[in-house]
């Protein structure tokens, strides 16, 4: 556990990617099985405990610490795990903790009733840094700024393999990854997984740089599609059944039985998950309600039926077609679809255009009239490769909408921003009163964040929990991708991807937007 705690701390604090990589490689080399495999599971978030949850830890701590003092501390620190590790009041003289494997075993086998005592004794035995690691382990949310990609790169480096090769086997293997380490250390062949039955890392797009790209790119080389406002998914219909993966490879099939149970045929499809009747996409908010639940309720399935709008194919039956150009894959997708007409899948249509100017007009009309987020450009010759290759796929987002809104409430951020009031609720005017229209983080420099934080502290009119109400005097310029009608908000509008683009220190609050003006930005559908 000591080594693991040291690794976590180094990963959390070292800004250098190379040093993180080095530390990971060293750790995987020096640590025996199964500890290193379990550590890998912890680092990639693959490990969860049935009974050890943040709430249990908090409860354990509250047996020893005054709840009000705990609340004040949590508000200050901003991270529950770290608050618990720092506030624990009992410290043993010597520090003997079980190994990672023993700890995980203890977490899994101790009865619910005995867990608080176990946690308390572990917290007391741990040295301060181990205590932090222990709490991180127990609560699951590491938040140490480590990407899965970097972890896989370290594994590849350790075994002298290509990171692509690690990605390929990744979704077929599981904790404690014995077969992975055996392969990396050349003690065994690569783990076998049916290629047509598992997740394949996605190909991603780059934003269009209007000033540069449109000059150099030849429109004839590209096909355009609408950018759909859902979530990217991969539908794997393999020999072992159907799985639905999010873009990060999480299996979300349980939340979408309407899709998983109705699709048929053999293929791996890349597409957009949407909800709506008759393939008519509803606003993202409706999809969000489905995404919020691990398993949907019956009425939800009726109210927000899900479907997939397919735009690419990676496997046709068992055949891996990723090395073929997009035009070929598209033809095969259309042919597959003709052979396997579906209730819950349709095709993303190609949007014809002659030159960039015409496409710009189409994009603007799509945004204004249908609320489309923008268009996707795919190089006709592009093969399907994981990651974000340059020059192949582009997203050309609509121009953002802008509204001047008034700051109403501020809340302390979490994680990196925990010491500042950095989550903001802002509103627009309705009959001389402000109505909240959205919430956003601040996206600017530390200096601006500090200024703003100072303003908030000096203009607080009330506070409840971590939230401060402020004088209705400060105007934010808020950019957002689109406005949607919403029954759930008092304002009647929900903003998509709001972000604070500027602080308008100069602008009087009564000149900020009226709610009417914001409502007018909702496209008529």
């Amino acid at each position: 556990m000591k080594r693991f705690a040291q690794l976590l701390e180094l990963l959390a604090l070292t800004p250098s990617r190379n040093r993180k990589l080095e530390a990971l490689v060293d750790y995987f080399r020096a640590t025996p099985d199964p500890d290193r495999g379990l550590a890998l599971a912890v680092l990639t978030g693959a490990l969860t405990f049935k009974n050890v949850k943040p709430a249990l830890l908090k409860e354990t701590v509250l047996r020893e610490v005054d709840p009000h003092l705990f609340a004040l501390s949590y508000d200050y620190v901003g991270d529950l795990g770290e608050t618990i590790a720092l506030i624990w009041p009992h410290h043993a003289k010597s520090h003997e903790l079980p190994s990672l494997a023993e700890l995980i075993e203890l977490f899994n086998t101790t009865s619910k009733k005995d867990l608080p005592d176990l946690i308390a004794s572990l917290l007391t035995s741990a040295e301060i840094n181990e205590r932090w690691a222990l709490v991180k382990l127990a609560t699951g949310g590491l938040r140490i700024g480590l990407s899965a990609r970097l972890t896989k790169t370290a594994l590849a480096q350790m075994g002298g393999k290509d990171v692509q090769a690690v990605e390929e086997v990744w979704h077929g293997i599981s904790s404690p990854y014995q077969e992975l380490f055996d392969w990396l250390e050349d003690k065994a062949e690569a783990p076998q997984v049916d290629p047509a039955s598992r997740f394949h890392p996605l190909m991603l797009s780059n934003p269009v740089d209007e000033a540069k790209d449109l000059e150099t790119l030849d429109p004839a080389d590209f096909a355009a599609e609408w950018k759909w406002d859902g979530i990217r998914v991969q539908l794997v219909m393999g020999a072992d059944g159907v799985s639905l993966f999010s873009r990060t490879g999480d299996d979300i099939g349980g939340a979408f039985p309407d899709i998983v149970e109705s699709v048929f045929g053999r293929a791996v499809l890349d597409g957009e998950l949407l909800v709506g009747e008759g393939f008519d996409p509803a606003p993202f908010n409706d999809l969000q309600q489905r995404l919020n639940r691990k398993t949907p309720t019956g009425p939800m399935l009726v109210k927000h039926p899900a479907f997939i709008r397919a735009y690419d194919m990676l496997f046709d039956g068992d055949e891996d077609i990723r090395a073929l150009p997009w035009t070929e894959r598209r033809k095969m997708l259309e042919a597959w679809f003709a052979r396997n007409p579906q209730q819950r899948i349709d095709l993303s249509q190609i949007v014809p255009f002659a030159d960039w100017q015409e496409l710009a007009g189409i994009r603007k009309r799509g945004a204004d009239e249908n609320g489309h987020e923008g268009v996707m450009l795919k190089r006709r010759q592009s093969v399907y490769v994981p990651g974000r290759p340059k020059g192949e796929w582009y997203k050309w987002k609509r121009d953002p909408n802008i509204v001047d809104a008034v700051l109403m409430y501020a809340q302390r951020g979490h994680g990196k921003r925990s010491s500042y009031y950095s989550d903001y609720t802002f509103g627009a005017w309705l009959d001389g009163e402000l109505v909240p229209i959205g919430k956003a983080y601040f996206g600017f420099t530390d200096e601006e964040l500090r200024q703003l934080d100072k303003w908030i502290r000096g203009n607080t009119t009330g506070s409840f929990g971590p939230v401060r109400e402020v004088r209705k005097q400060l105007v934010f310029e808020v950019a957002f991708d689109s406005a949607q009608k919403s029954g759930r908000h008092k304002s009647g509008v929900a903003l998509r991807f709001p972000r604070i683009s500027r602080i308008r220190w100069d602008k009087p609050a009564d000149e900020a937007a009226q709610l009417d003006e914001v409502l007018a930005l909702i496209p008529a559908t």
Binding site: V77, E82, L86, D446
Partner: protein
């Protein structure tokens, strides 16, 4: 009632003197040399000889109309009030102020700490009726480890990275000298390189009898000379152009705030060193109990939690919101 002796602006009524006033006053009593306590422009200043020396070094010889030195433990009677300074253990010369009048005792701690520190006079407990305590680390999440543990971590990192410099962000007055003292006590006798901003104050400490060993100017050393060495600079220089002269520096920071990893990450600190010149939560509680004060005023930091705690203990407690009191250099100094 001790409240009649002192008001919430730390104004001693009957002799019209202010303790650590934020604006120029005719008569000021200064607890220590940090800028949020010691300001220039007062008519007369009553302080310890070390504090007076520090004020003159930072603000110039004539930064006050006149200076009246008072040694620790010496009682000074002014009318019916008696003032005595006791060491606060915070930085060189830092004092707690005991005010006695009509059988009542009031102690204003200024900034203080109770962990040993050989660059400062050692904290002395003073019993009183009204305690005015600071609360920089007034939350139970602050439990400072022994400073020796932190020094050992630093030296282990220095030994493990012979090709890199270790750049420690430490406040120029007090913290820097304390870190140097800790390194010396741990047996590190290589030269320690300093940012220009702290040279004068280190010299002042040495002149006043605090041994700091062999100190060098970071700007005069070559990049190669600094590999494997310890360099100390104000926290603001950590991310500054200034640090580019160092070979691939490990960024460290010495501050009580560094126990919060999120805070360290925010500052891009790779090696957080929890070395504080203030009490942690447990020391604050210990002090409140040991002074046997029945009334506690809390200032200078996270007042809420400490006031709440005191009231739970049956003490009369109030937060003081004194303008201008914010730790010198913000969180960096603590």
């Amino acid at each position: 009632m001790p409240q009649q002796i002192l008001d919430s602006q730390l104004h001693i009524r009957s002799i019209d003197s202010y303790i650590d006033p934020a604006t120029p006053r005719e008569r000021a009593i200064i607890t220590h040399g940090h800028a949020d306590h010691a300001r220039s422009g007062h008519g007369s200043v009553l302080a310890t000889p070390d504090t007076i020396a520090i004020m003159k070094a930072r603000y110039g010889e004539d930064c006050a109309g006149k200076f009246q030195p008072l040694d620790f433990g010496e009682a000074l009677a002014i009318d019916d009030v008696t003032i005595t300074f006791y060491p606060a253990g915070h930085i060189l010369g830092s004092a707690q102020v005991l005010i006695e009048q009509a059988g009542q005792r009031v102690v204003v701690t200024g900034d203080y700490k109770r962990l040993p520190d050989r660059t400062s006079q050692e904290f002395e407990l003073v019993k009183c009726d009204l305690l005015v305590t600071e609360a920089t680390f007034g939350l139970p999440v602050f439990q400072h480890p022994p400073a020796e543990r932190e020094t050992a971590r630093l030296l282990a990192s220095v030994a493990g990275n012979p090709e890199r410099a270790h750049l420690i962000g430490a406040y120029s007055l007090g913290k820097a000298q304390r870190v140097i003292g800790l390194l010396r006590d741990a047996g590190h006798d290589a030269p320690i390189y300093l940012h220009g901003a702290m040279i004068r104050l280190c010299e002042l400490y040495q002149e006043r009898g605090i041994a700091l060993g062999d100190l060098g100017h970071a700007t005069e050393a070559s990049k190669a000379d600094l590999a494997g060495q310890v360099v100390i600079a104000p926290p603001s220089a950590l991310k500054d152009r200034w640090s580019r002269r160092l070979p691939d520096p490990v960024l460290a920071m010495a501050s009580g705030w560094m126990s919060v990893k999120q805070r360290a990450r925010q500052r891009g600190v790779e090696l957080p060193l929890v070395i504080s010149d203030h009490c942690d939560w447990n020391e604050l509680l210990q002090t409140i109990a040991e002074t046997e004060a029945e009334t506690v005023w809390v200032t200078h930091g996270r007042e809420d939690a400490l006031v709440y705690y005191c009231r739970q203990q049956g003490l009369a407690a109030e937060p003081l919101n004194i303008q201008g009191f914010e730790d010198e250099g913000g969180e960096d100094a603590a």
